[in-house]
Symmetry: C2
Subunit: 533 residues, 2 copies
């Protein structure tokens, strides 16, 4: 989309030099800064902003509630709104890859309340402790970024990304169920089952709207697109209103999102100025106890943020502007530290929101020959990310906060299911499973393009690969359901490293078709192999 | 499927002669009687019996409940079971077209309680009055059959059949909603919303199972078939068990089907011997008041039964045995009279069950080239119809009646939705509407076979035709929702006759593509044009 003369990516630097990755990133991206705004004069920016605002904000709120419940009200809605807003605005304005949406993720929510669980019996202030975790982590981010270690993500393969995507989508579905289960907690079964009904209806209509907009052949493609662009936000709005439609619904007191005072921290024991006095309420021992937690947090963000960034500029998106992993990871270190000091959950790259954001920015035309939409271009710019951050910040102000307080929790559950199911629908793990269960005769005689591709792989290797995917998923999902959830980043790392040994298990010709590096050749230009610290 | 040498259908009779239609029907069909049993030695008979047993029995029960509520308990479950059983056994054994499933339909349920509503303020015994209605109607059936007037159904076009199918499927969906609404009646909202949840879940899984079995390409076709064969019955069984799965469901007291004493009439004021003393409790005036009602009932059965019979041997089914409209209508007269004397609702041809029955008897093989199932044969026999009748009779016995009393009403609602939605999915009115809303470019550049066929019709005529279809549907649906429901058969007749004037509205070449006679050339052999009374 850029009208700039194509700037040749500088790739001749020696990555042995300290900070060279960051400098290269900035030098490469800086020439596009102007076009990052001028390219935003495009209609697609509007649906994309609306879409990403809803898909970022609402799940974040659900995670807020999770943390609220599991940390004795330490974190609440305001903290999560502030964190999301900061992520959007800071990464929108300053990141090298503004396609990557940054906000409060499921794993960080789990991390935060697992830490709470582990230290609550110690005589230490939770916010101070978390602040130390974040500050240590900031230091680690800086070190990792400056010493060019982000280059190692070039070894991350699609195996890890696909399994992580699969895992996150399953977490979304599980989350929807958990929200609904909570509606029964006070023994009001009418409310409970009514909530399940609303969530099911919303899920049906939301998915139908997505299907109508993408896979059906009704009306004109340009009108259809409205359904895929605004179907999800409109479902949220419609079903928030639906509970007021009357009839038997009037007798139900639906639970809505819990809100508190505008712009004030949720936890009553906190001062209203947001600043955590991290030097108070902590012993020196506690400060050093925070170190291993910081290490895990750094692991998590290293993987989660960079994978998000990789996925939002993956093969299927016609990205033309350069990537920026080193600088963005450095910037993430800053926001992590600031989050610690403000006593809010630290934001990082969001899956599936980051790739969904890219997807919503694609310009598609309908190809009547094949009957599918074909991507012809992409609106690469900063405005959508900044705008959704500002909108989120605006939600903290009173009138809008009350609007938010009117969204029923069941709508949130429906939203989780829609996102989780449509995510699973496009996931590679699901697709491979589908392929394995498809009638072999259909594949032999009348294969789709995708089936023809997979058919070239020997079946036994394909099955083994899918088993490896499912094992990784089972471990990731399993650990988050236990008290060992804090070790989740370790599991991610383990399987990312495990995948680098695939060349000793699979024959090279098979592996080539099964697994590829997540970073495309274009992105790899910024991630050099000759890294030495 | 018959191994008999193809018997030449006798068509040389002069239809001017009284009773000739009935005689021809019997002479034509009799040679196939033996093969009607020998052909039944086929696996398809098993899934077909199970399928049609459930799809006949359960909706009938729902209509039973409707009548129960609207006739102050005059008709109940036992009456409906007996009527369905009689229909299955009598038409299975003696009809000329045993493919046509006979049982208690929605329209007759509406007819019965509308009559109740109209005469309840008169000093007349309802059962005696209904018996007179049935007896008069029997006489009319006999006259119509003997004077060969059933020949006139050769003028019924697909227009009437399609609209009636569309109407019935919409009634099914409405029925599901009504059942659920009733779950709230006692102010137990938890039960109400839990029932909606169960119905929604059942609908989702039932439709998914049908889709998996028919349109998907997973596993082998032979295994897939199990899902389309047994998906619906298993859904009923599974979701009847689902409400006992525990958790919050344990706190809900789901309403189940109301049962009463085995083999005894439901209404307490009735004698236990089932026989209605129709000469008691009626004045001569009442007997003649029954006449116009009998006329409406005869109208209804003339249309409904013959359309059912037409639809279960329609173009898409490779029927090879001769049809039998005159004799079957005569037989229907007998069952109608017997129903009156037994004080049970009169059974007649069932839509959508009759065509669903034919469909379940089709032998299909999967064509990998086109990716769809192709019908290669059909198991035409009497055993499925008799067996489902006997099974229904068996349900009246105590242990099984209690099993039936454990089916939750919400499962019934789910069943109605599954049947209604899958019926609508294949209906011609729906298909034409879909065509009109499909992107014209898709149709121009990449049409399906069906789209190519419809494209040949001028758009304005197609739109006009669909408008006529929708008007007829609106009138049929509208009248059943008012106290004028009794006039429903008149509306059916009106539009059937209206369709014969289409040749004055549409150009002949267009009409040929829009509307055809419901009876195929093969069936028409038994329905002669030269009828004179």
């Amino acid at each position: 989309m850029s009208n700039l003369p194509k700037v040749k990516i500088r790739e001749k630097f020696h990555y042995k030099r300290i900070g060279q990755g960051i400098i290269t990133d900035i030098r490469n991206r800086l020439p596009y800064l102007r076009s990052d705004y001028s390219d935003a004069i495009n209609y697609r920016v509007i649906p994309s902003t609306v879409y990403i605002f809803f898909t970022n904000l609402l799940p974040a709120i659900a995670f807020a509630q999770d943390m609220f419940d599991h940390t004795d009200n330490s974190y609440g809605l305001n903290e999560v709104l502030m964190s999301s807003a900061m992520g959007g605005i800071v990464f929108g304005l300053f990141s090298g890859q503004p396609l990557c949406i940054v906000g409060v993720t499921g794993p960080i929510a789990i991390f935060n309340f697992t830490v709470y669980d582990l230290i609550k019996d110690r005589d230490v202030d939770y916010f101070s402790f978390m602040c130390w975790v974040c500050l240590w982590s900031t230091l680690m981010h800086f070190i990792l970024a400056i010493f060019n270690t982000v280059n190692y993500i070039r070894y991350i393969t699609m195996y890890s990304c696909d399994v992580f995507g699969f895992f996150i989508n399953c977490i979304y579905i599980q989350k929807g169920i958990q929200i609904l289960t909570r509606q029964f907690a006070d023994g009001d079964y009418a409310k409970g089952f009514a909530s399940v009904m609303v969530a099911l209806l919303m899920c049906i209509f939301g998915l139908a709207s997505v299907f109508f907009g993408t896979d059906s052949h009704y009306i004109k493609p340009v009108v259809r697109k409205i359904f895929s662009d605004y179907g999800l936000p409109l479902s949220v709005v419609f079903f928030s209103g639906f509970i007021h439609f009357g009839g038997y619904l009037n007798n139900i007191d639906f639970e809505t999102l819990p809100i508190s005072q505008s712009f004030r921290p949720t936890f009553e024991g906190r001062r209203s100025d947001w600043f955590i006095r991290f030097w108070e309420g902590c012993t020196v021992g506690d400060v050093f106890l925070a170190l291993p937690f910081a290490l895990l947090l750094t692991f998590l963000f290293y993987f989660d943020h960079n994978v998000s960034s990789l996925m939002c500029q993956a093969h299927q998106f016609p990205v033309t502007k350069p990537s920026s992993f080193h600088w963005d990871y450095f910037l993430l270190g800053i926001t992590t530290g600031v989050s610690g000091i403000l006593g809010i959950p630290a934001p990082n790259g969001l899956i599936p929101q980051a790739p969904l954001h890219s997807s919503s920015l694609c310009i598609k035309t309908h190809d009547y020959e094949s009957g599918v939409d074909i991507v012809t271009g992409m609106v690469e710019q900063r405005v959508t990310n900044i705008a959704q951050g500002l909108l989120t910040l605006g939600m903290m102000a009173r009138p809008l906060l009350i609007v938010l307080g009117n969204v029923p929790q069941s709508v949130l559950a429906g939203l989780f299911w829609i996102m989780g199911l449509s995510g699973l629908n496009g996931n590679e793990v699901t697709n491979k499973l589908r392929f394995l269960f498809t009638d072999p005769e259909t594949i032999r005689l009348n294969p789709t393009e995708y089936q023809a591709k997979l058919s070239k792989i020997e079946r036994k290797w394909l099955i083994l690969f899918v088993i490896f995917e499912l094992i990784a998923f089972a471990c990731e999902f399993g650990i988050t359901c236990t008290r060992g959830a804090i070790g989740f980043p370790g599991v991610l790392m383990f399987f990312a490293i495990f995948a680098t040994f695939f060349d000793r298990i699979f024959p090279p010709d098979q592996l080539e078709m099964l697994d590829t590096h997540a970073a495309s050749a274009f992105i790899l230009q910024n991630l050099h192999r000759e890294t030495k610290i």
